[in-house]
Symmetry: C2
Subunit: 222 residues, 2 copies
């Protein structure tokens, strides 16, 4: 008897980063729901992904319905849609983990750090959703095209921030299931580090490096 | 004929991080001035360091005098001393590069990101000192005890932020002279990434890793 994995709804699941992670989680055995503003778009994307992974459990629903039907809600939306999406899933996310991968980029200067007044997108989400939702930030630094390529090895490691260790651990396991190395990186305030790093990585990508990411160095204890 | 290297004043040069970098720069051939609030302390530290590196040019001066006598001013002070030190060196630093290694840690919760209203310590320095000073942030993420050990290889890479590319390049070269790998990481606003990362690294050090640092990953072009 295999352990039943929690169902993951990916809000913004038709986008590059969201659909990439949805594929990787589906491949790892998580039931996945693609969320979109239009049910039809969500169902279409889910059908495309099911064609790639015929044995996986993938379906499409409108965002709020997707959040309601899932155990874990993942937000991968442009920053300009962040607040409206939080409003859309707020009720459905109560009592659940909400994984926020949103990066507060402010076009056109996306290589310049411009953090929101709350400190980070995920902290803004935690403030808005309230303590009934366990917001965990992750995946802000990963290149979407690498995530979408199921064969790609992703060197960039994942900083996982949130106020509850158990919720962070669930997201560390999701990262590992998607083939990434992840770290407990502290409370939700620490999301500012990962949010800010994304603009630095965009700046580095304009130099002589592609797919810039970070890896944690140091001496492993024990 | 060898090129004359610029003279570096290390404000807070009697501390662990400052004295470590001062030693490494002196070893690489930079004339170094140790700055301290008391001339006597600065001279004492400089004498200790000269005993380790007899061929190097190392002397001690009071902070403002050290800044006045140098081409490049480096600030390695606790965040609580940041503003007073900026006031002390403001006049002497005009027209020069000021390298700010200050991390805005707010005790007792140093593993929690708590960025200042300006966004980062270095941005606060740039705002305070004005456009006459080229503020460049660097070295916020490096473990002081490793820097002090002249034989230690430091895996942690350095994010170098500042509004002028030429000033950043000078600091990239100082980092390389000290044995570190460094990156142009964007404008001074991007210092927030390195500042915030320090609290994340402190958090990681409480887990099963020591001397946590970061390395940039990606594919080198060309």
């Amino acid at each position: 008897m295999t352990e039943q994995k929690p169902t993951i709804a990916v809000i913004g699941g038709t986008g590059a980063l969201g659909s990439g992670f949805a594929l990787r989680w589906a491949r790892a055995g998580y039931p996945v729901i693609i969320g979109s503003r239009a049910t039809e778009s969500a169902e279409k994307k889910a059908a495309e992904m099911s064609a790639i992974l015929p044995d996986a459990s993938i379906r499409g629903l409108e965002n709020a319905a997707a959040a309601a039907a899932a155990d874990i809600v993942v937000l991968t939306v442009p920053f300009s849609n962040h607040r409206p999406m939080l409003e859309a899933v707020c009720d459905a996310a109560q009592g659940k983990i909400l994984v926020d991968a949103t990066v507060p980029l402010v076009p056109p200067k996306v290589a310049r750090v411009q953090l929101p007044p709350e400190g980070s997108a995920a902290k803004a989400a935690q403030d808005f959703l309230g303590d009934g939702v366990h917001v965990v930030s992750a995946f802000q630094n990963v290149a979407a095209d690498l995530v979408q390529d199921l064969d790609a090895t992703i060197e960039c490691e994942v900083l996982v921030c949130g106020n509850k260790r158990a919720a962070r651990q669930t997201v560390v396991e999701m990262a590992e299931a998607a083939g990434l190395t992840a770290w407990h990186a502290g409370p939700i305030d620490n999301s500012a580090a990962a949010d800010a790093l994304t603009s630095v990585l965009i700046f580095l990508n304009r130099g002589d490096i592609s797919h810039a990411g970070i890896r944690i160095t140091g001496e492993r204890d024990g």
